[in-house]
């Protein structure tokens, strides 16, 4: 493994760590749902129907040259 690859890996790690530290500072979040306000036991599933549509098979040849 040459030094360039090591550098790239280190950069990725640094980005993740600094990213975490920055996210500590931003806590205002837009709320997309209202799950906190669901009425207890009000969920009722009336109909449940799973219908098979179609099947598709893809095949890829096993590569011959192994590194």
């Amino acid at each position: 493994m040459n030094i360039l690859v090591s550098l790239i890996i280190a950069i990725i790690i640094a980005a993740i760590v600094v990213g975490c530290m920055i996210s500590q500072l931003k806590t205002v979040r837009h709320k997309s749902g209202a799950s906190d306000y669901k009425k207890q036991d009000s969920f009722r599933l009336d109909e449940r129907r799973d219908t098979f549509l179609y099947k598709r098979v893809t095949k890829t040849p096993i590569s011959d040259n192994k590194k």
């Binding site: 500072l25 709320k31 749902g33 209202a34 669901k38 009722r44 109909e47 095949k59």
Partner: protein, 359 residues
């Protein structure tokens, strides 16, 4: 003869204040404590008769003469906020932009809140929470902590509209199941596609939408949830010592936001019933909402505004649960230093590791 909204201590006749610790009215002079309902009833008995006028509107009620005379309205010339409080609590600075505010006219046209969640945490608790929040934030500029004028944290009742709704959902999903196998020459992937249909009902209650333009919606939503079980019928006594924001977004304008959130949660609730697949996508979503009666409530928030480096930062704490949020500035120099340091050390470590592992 109009009634004064000052609540007198039955023991020593001094003015009572609302105490967050015990959730009762407390006399600062003789230290006696009284239940709010008892105080209100006592006051009513002492004064001349009050006229209670009630109109049935979508939410909120009409103020009666007595209550109006005991309230003051302030307006901020800088940001346009309109703050109200009881006549005996002085207000001098706008809780949203820190500018001085002046007393303006009455607000006879406003609705009276249906209910209020009283402040459970006092100013000291709010200050402590702010300090705790600033702890351990590595990239926070040091100067920010010191210059922050923590003392100016203000307790504000934010007007919220509370919506109920029953959602009737009919949804169709596209779901896939995958199966893989191999033989000597090929790798096979079989993808079976299904159509999943789900229909049913789910109900939501008390979904809050903030009714104040000045209060950032995202900020208000970030400090949720509030526990409505601790809400009480509105009474001007609760405003004593705190500021209340007047609503300037109507219920009709707010219902859209509530329904948006309700729809999203409904979709998630039904999507969760499509199980046993490797991937699920919503194909068609038909959700009908039946909205119930809305409520107008006041929710407690501790607010602090700070200007730093030309930017404005607002922090909010849920006055009932203590949840603290606020976007803080990033010390760019510190961040760059950390990034550089980790990169250098990381490169050396990874290279050394790979050398020893023979990669």
């Amino acid at each position: 003869m109009s009634e004064l909204m000052e609540y007198q201590c039955p023991c020593c006749s001094a003015k009572l204040e609302f105490n967050t610790g015990t959730q009762n009215m407390k006399c600062p002079y003789c230290d006696s404590e009284f239940d709010i309902d008892a105080v209100v009833q006592h006051n009513n008995e002492m004064a001349s008769e009050t006229e209670e006028m009630k109109w049935d509107t979508i939410a909120g009620e009409q103020w009666n003469e007595a209550e109006l005379s005991g309230m003051s309205v302030y307006s901020c010339k800088s940001c346009g906020a309109e703050i109200m409080t009881d006549a005996t609590t002085g207000a001098s600075k706008c809780p949203y932009c820190d500018s001085p505010i002046v007393m303006s006219g009455s607000f006879a046209g406003d609705l009276k809140p249906d209910c209020v969640i009283p402040f459970k945490l006092d100013k000291e608790a709010a200050k402590a929470a702010l300090n705790r929040y600033l702890d351990g934030k590595i990239l926070l500029p040091k100067v920010f902590r010191e210059e922050n004028h923590i003392d100016e944290i203000k307790g504000v009742y934010v007007p919220v509209w509370l919506f109920d709704a029953e959602a009737d959902a009919k949804m169709t999903f596209k779901a896939e199941k995958k199966r893989t196998w191999s033989d000597n020459s090929y790798n096979y992937v079989e993808t079976s596609t299904y159509s999943a249909y789900r229909s049913g009902k789910v109900a939501f209650e008390l979904v809050p939408v903030d009714g104040s333009e000045k209060m950032d919606d995202d900020l208000m939503e970030s400090i949720e949830p509030y526990n409505f079980k601790e809400a009480v019928d509105f009474n001007t006594a609760y405003l004593s010592g705190y500021l209340a924001d007047r609503y300037d977004v109507s219920a009709e304008q707010s219902i859209g936001r509530a329904n948006e959130r309700i729809r999203k949660s409904t979709e998630v609730a039904f999507e969760e019933t499509v199980t046993g697949y490797s991937s699920v996508l919503i194909e068609k979503s038909n959700i009908k909402l039946n909205n119930g009666k809305a409520k107008y409530a006041l929710y407690p928030v501790w607010l602090l505004n700070t200007t730093w480096n030309g930017e404005k930062y607002t922090f909010a704490m849920n006055g009932q649960t203590g949840k603290f949020v606020g976007n803080l500035p990033v010390d760019k120099v510190k961040a760059a230093t950390w990034f550089g340091a980790i990169t250098v050390v990381g490169t050396a470590l990874v290279y050394a590791l790979s050398y020893f592992l023979g990669l």
